[in-house]
Subunit: 347 residues, 2 copies
């Protein structure tokens, strides 16, 4: 179990606030009894929820604030009004000041990116942070980044995303040299945009702690062709949401098909154990949590509309990252990479 | 049934050539008895396949050529070697010279884009052609473009793609004012890249023959939120392949889940009618065919690796387009739009 890990939770973030965050913390505590929490938000509402979870109450410290970032606030607005005092900010501050190893919020993504950058700062040598998603594959899971911290990325940023994604794969999947692919619209070297071609040229040659696979296409992601898929935040966000939408759509088809006839309904009753397993596999709550990479601290973003099961999964991810030293590993990879580039530049 | 529609087929395109193309033409002929074919390629191989399809043979004219475009040829290479004489070129030429109303090829996409542009030329006022896909939704189907003719698109091209996609939706779905959405990473006006924001500003104001919905996200495509989804060829290609990959992945999960236990296997036997319906719904062959838009003629690209069922669906799409006057409608929409822009510019 190791040393206790403390996680700061933005109790006011998301569509449901403490009524989802507190039960989620209770769920995560069952899975990781060594965990401790800092719960940031309206103390009265947090305490009301905690009364149903006495074990959690004993493991938690409450930090009160009246201020919460609105789900529809623009990043600049959120920063102006919520800095120094909002539940989102104070949870980040707990990480910055080493009171917590990680923070989880279901709040406004744009606001969280802006505040996290401002509060925690990027790791030295990292230009912009990225958001990584854990994507289910037919093999197991892979890391996809950036899925929305930035719009667009130049070749240097794509290389940084590669190092960040690889560090995360090492931390979460326990692999030493993850395979990495650059998302593109064809596997031939001639295809794609200039930034991607330039990143490809660097990754092919650079002695990085990865196995560089080359280009991958949209249908390779779910096939588990590589452990880490690197792309810019615009493309990554659209790919992620398209996959989520397709899964939802097929679920709807399946339910409709199973209601079509008496035999189908009977069959679906007999097969319900199998359907349950499939549903779990396809359940977006099981993979809930955008992971911010490139900051001096661990920040996990949960879906705004998620329930306690989903938010608890985001806490699990934060716990795994905090236990595995991913931030330190990432910092040393980035430093090593830039040192090499400088040596080459000087040579 | 109307006047007979003649369709030129690149019999040598795709991974399998005449052994897929000829049986596909026979299938399409059953569905559309008024159709006629020009079959372009190696006459001996075409005739060998035709011997099994006497009805098709009577409706077909063979145009012989020894030259076929290689599936891995670069576009410039294909143009240099295949112009004037390859099966791909001669099938396009049949459309240009009005011997055929449409052409279908399962050949190399890049080569087909380059040759089609060179042979048929773009419609006056269209900067670059686009490839549209018919995407299944929980409602019905929608048009998504560009899915790979170009890498990137400026705001003017995005507006042109809008008009092209709307003309296609009118032709295929029989709707007068299709709804159109711009693919973006958030529905708020502040988000996204400059080109998309600029196109959004034009589409919001311009009196076009569409219902402009605003931004849509990746998960809105399969939900059928709009009839036409507009994006650049890089993003569109990755979204399309990601959706195809996700469908394949869920199919694999489903098969595995149904083999897990005796009850599940029994259930799946009872429900097999429903599974068959689902499989058809998810079958990528049913939606096989990238539709080239913005050219003076109808060109449909079938998947290179498809079978006769898939290639026949691509012929169906070409037939529907040829019967509905989509090229003329598109040309008049584009002319009308540019005339309006000029008037506004002069005002």
């Amino acid at each position: 179990m190791g040393a206790p890990v403390t996680i700061a939770l933005d109790a006011m973030g998301g569509d449901h606030g403490p009524s989802v965050v507190i039960p989620a913390a209770a769920l995560a505590l069952i899975r990781h009894p060594g965990i401790r929490f800092i719960l940031v938000g309206d103390a009265a509402r947090i305490e009301a929820e905690l009364s149903a979870h006495p074990t959690l109450a004993k493991k938690s410290e409450i930090v009160h604030t009246d201020v919460a970032v609105a789900m529809d606030a623009k990043p600049s607005q959120a920063l102006r009004r919520g800095r120094w005092k909002s539940s989102m900010w104070l949870a980040l501050e707990a990480v910055r000041d080493k009171h917590a190893s990680a923070m989880v919020s279901a709040g406004n993504t744009g606001a969280l990116v802006a505040m996290a950058k401002f509060c925690l700062k990027t790791i030295e040598g990292v230009d912009r942070p990225a958001i990584a998603a854990i994507w289910p594959t037919v093999e197991a899971e892979c890391v996809v980044l950036d899925v929305g911290a930035n719009v667009g990325a130049d070749s240097r940023q794509l290389v940084e995303f590669t190092l960040m994604g690889a560090a995360l794969a090492r931390a979460l999947f326990g692999m030493e040299k993850p395979s990495v692919g650059l998302l593109n619209i064809g596997v031939e070297e001639v295809k794609g945009v200039e930034e991607i071609k330039a990143a490809h040229a660097v990754l092919k040659e650079a002695p990085l702690p990865i196995r560089y696979h080359g280009f991958v296409e949209g249908d390779d992601v779910g096939q588990g062709v590589v452990d880490v898929v690197v792309t810019d935040g615009f493309t990554g966000n659209i790919a992620l949401k398209t996959a989520e939408g397709t899964a939802k759509q097929i679920g709807a088809y399946l339910r409709a098909a199973m209601r079509r006839s008496f035999l189908a309904r009977l069959g679906s009753v007999l097969a319900q154990g199998a359907f349950r397993a499939l549903k779990e596999k396809m359940d977006p709550r099981q993979l809930n949590g955008g992971i911010f990479l490139g900051l001096n601290g661990i920040v996990v973003k949960s879906h705004g509309g998620t329930d306690a099961t989903g938010f608890a999964c985001a806490i699990d991810v934060a716990y795994d990252m905090a236990s595995s030293g991913v931030v330190e590993r990432l910092a040393s990879d980035i430093t090593g990479f830039h040192a090499k580039l400088e040596l080459e530049g000087a040579a």
